[in-house]
């Protein structure tokens, strides 16, 4: 794997949501329109065959980025390239379909993402109909059977409905459906957060096996740093819609540079009971409608200074990774 072989390039991506009160309320209460910058000027690339993880706390913009990449949402600004082609220029017809089939998404809640009235055969067979219209129904059923086997279920499970499965099995069905289109890129938005840990281990192992077998590229989204460390080659840390730090997994855990990354790492419970000393984590995530000026992390940051309160830090190369922090740039952290 060469490091300069990007499959996905996200460039200055932003997405705003209008969260204003209804017009009449605004007039009566004399309030302005309100916006959330759910994703704000985010740039990263994902190389072929690697797993890039995005971590961040609730509301940091993880799911919004996932949706933007797979085309469930349109960007307010910026663009996304997939295998060198811009996804912005309203691709049409055959080319759009050829490109679309190459990326798929797996969601957090496998129940909500599977049609409850469809049998599993039809759920997994649906992308086959769209992308491999040439298959006879017999061939299609055979292929569904193969996919079910691949994810650790049995071909006989095809006749069942989603509610007949446990949470972990439903996530296997969702993975089989994602694989049906033979994608090379899968966006996984908290694929195991709704699962028990013993089942989470099964699904994480399965995803790694499938990645090895088919050379898949993953964008893996999670709020759990331990899971991310296990899955990712590179990691991006999000805070209030912006990237705070991007580094390869080893570097990020061995030498976290951004104060927010350090704080997140300090908050991970010490399961090995090594007696690792923990720094006290301060404060909570501010309201995203009205984020603090300058570096949005400054009210919680022990290193904040005047510049931090005024100027938004840009993501800069620090020698081993990228950080958006004035303190790191100035060499005081």
């Amino acid at each position: 794997m060469t490091t300069s072989n990007p499959l996905v390039e996200v460039n200055k991506l932003s997405r705003r949501f209008d969260v204003s009160k209804p017009w009449l309320n605004r007039v009566i209460e004399r309030t302005d329109k309100a916006y959330v910058r759910a994703v704000d000027d985010v740039t990263f690339r994902i190389n072929k065959g690697e797993t890039l993880a995005l971590v961040g706390e609730s509301g940091s913009g993880k799911s919004t980025i996932a949706r933007l990449i797979v085309g469930l949402l349109d960007p307010s600004e910026g663009d996304i390239h997939f295998d060198g082609k811009s996804l912005k220029k309203g691709l049409k017809g055959g080319e759009a379909r050829r490109l679309r089939r190459r990326f798929q998404m797996i969601f957090q809640d496998p129940f909500a993402s599977l049609n409850p009235r469809w049998r599993v055969t039809d759920i997994i067979g649906e992308p086959l109909k769209v992308f491999e219209g040439g298959l006879s129904s017999l061939e299609r059923r055979k292929r569904v059977g193969e996919l079910l086997t691949l994810v650790g279920l049995s071909p006989e499970d095809g006749v069942k409905f989603p509610h007949e499965f446990s949470g972990g099995q439903r996530q296997r069905v969702a993975i089989a459906r994602a694989l049906a289109a033979r994608p090379d890129f899968i966006v996984c938005d908290e694929p195991t957060s709704a699962l028990d840990v013993s089942v989470q281990a099964q699904i994480l192992n399965l995803m790694k096996d499938l990645q090895d077998e088919f050379g898949l590229t993953f964008l893996f989204i999670s709020h759990d740093l331990s899971v991310v460390r296990h899955m990712a080659n590179r990691i991006g840390v999000l805070y209030l819609g912006r990237l705070a730090e991007v580094a390869d997994s080893k570097t990020l855990f061995a030498k976290p540079r951004h104060p927010y990354t350090r704080m997140l790492l300090d908050a991970v419970p010490d399961l090995e009971m090594t007696g690792r000393k923990r720094k006290k984590v301060e404060g909570e995530i501010p309201n995203p409608i009205n984020p603090p000026p300058g570096c949005a992390f400054h009210p919680r940051c022990p290193f904040a200074n005047e510049r931090c309160r005024m100027e938004i830090p840009q993501l800069l190369w620090n020698g081993e990774g990228e950080t958006a922090c004035h303190g790191v740039e100035e060499g005081r952290i």
Binding site: S198, V199, N205, L225, S226, H230, P269, D270, E272, E284
Partner: protein
């Protein structure tokens, strides 16, 4: 020393049209004064049911079908609803996953704290307010004197959970039952809340029954831990022993399946299958279909927790007669 809480052979059942389901099946444990007992297990293991049984909040038709619950030596499982209501708040404080289940949105924090304090303690309104402010200050609410007159929705999620902790402790209970107190919170806030809860209970002298699915929270907080599986206690003992040297095959599998910052292997240990439904709990040891060590006896006879060093382990591998054989 007398335990704060003694649960003896507790069984909780739900009659349904298709037969009786047993959600908690003959479990026993004690919590000593000042101790933090963690109760851990995957969803449906019976953790919350056990907590609900202790505070007398099992929803009918569910009921305690056998066993005893003693609070400071006194039976509380057979009290009437009115008596039980007096115990809750006074002698047992509660903290739930969603702070809004414990807080009334229509009243200010001051009103709720003062009302609870005065229901259980002979204090004047002014003294009760003083106590309430001190509690809020102790749980880390900045400017407590001013914030006390705010409504719950004016606080962030983490701050609300701090208020709930203050409310749970305001009448000096002997025991606090906390059911997934940090599950709904952000990672960086979870650690703060755990700290606050632990320090507050130590300061106010309350023991804690900490129910969670998160082994990390247990490792950070508990003195002892009970690992539940399919309504039963698989293993119970000092946290360090259980975590670093699990004896029950389920605990061992569970520990191996959790990725940690130190995990170096490429694959996680995985336990095959998933926890059985209540309507299909296997005969013998409930873990037998998933257990790599199961042998004949496991499919016939149910293992009860057996003393093994500092612990009790419900597994035939640890029965003296099997170890001799």
């Amino acid at each position: 020393m007398q335990p704060v809480l003694s649960v003896k052979n507790l069984t909780v059942q739900f009659p349904t049209r298709r037969g009786t389901l047993t959600a908690v099946d003959n479990i026993s444990f004690d919590i000593m004064p000042g101790e933090v007992l963690g109760v851990v297990g995957e969803s449906g293991a019976g953790k919350s049911m056990t907590g609900s049984a202790v505070i007398g909040l099992i929803e009918p038709p569910g009921r305690i079908s056998s066993g005893e619950i003693l609070l400071q030596g006194e039976r509380i499982d057979n009290l009437g609803p009115d008596q039980m209501r007096r115990y809750r708040g006074k002698r047992i404080g509660m903290v739930f996953q969603d702070p809004l289940t414990s807080l009334n949105p229509l009243y200010t924090v001051a009103e709720q704290l003062i009302e609870t304090i005065r229901t259980h303690m002979p204090l004047s309104p002014a003294d009760a307010r003083k106590r309430a402010i001190k509690l809020l200050d102790d749980v880390g609410i900045p400017a407590a004197e001013r914030r006390i007159d705010d409504y719950p929705h004016q606080f962030s999620g983490g701050m609300r959970q701090r208020v709930v902790i203050a409310l749970a402790l305001c009448a000096d209970p002997a025991l606090v039952i906390a059911d997934e107190p940090t599950t709904a919170l952000d990672v960086s806030v979870q650690a703060q809340i755990i700290d606050v809860m632990k320090n507050m209970c130590a300061e106010y002298g309350a023991a804690i029954m900490l129910i969670t699915h998160d082994m990390g929270v247990i490792a950070e907080t508990a003195d002892r831990v009970a690992v539940m599986y399919a309504g039963r206690i698989a293993e119970i003992g000092p946290v360090r022993d259980v975590i670093t040297d699990a004896k029950h095959p389920y605990t061992a599998g569970l520990m191996g399946s959790i990725p940690t910052l130190a995990t170096n292997s490429d694959r996680l240990t995985q336990i095959p299958g998933s926890m059985p439904r209540l309507s299909a709990i296997p005969k013998g040891c409930a873990f037998n279909p998933r257990c790599p060590h199961a042998f004949d006896r496991c499919f016939v006879e149910r293992p009860e927790p057996i003393a093994s060093g500092t612990r009790r382990v419900a597994c035939w591998l640890h029965a003296p007669e099997e170890q001799a054989a």
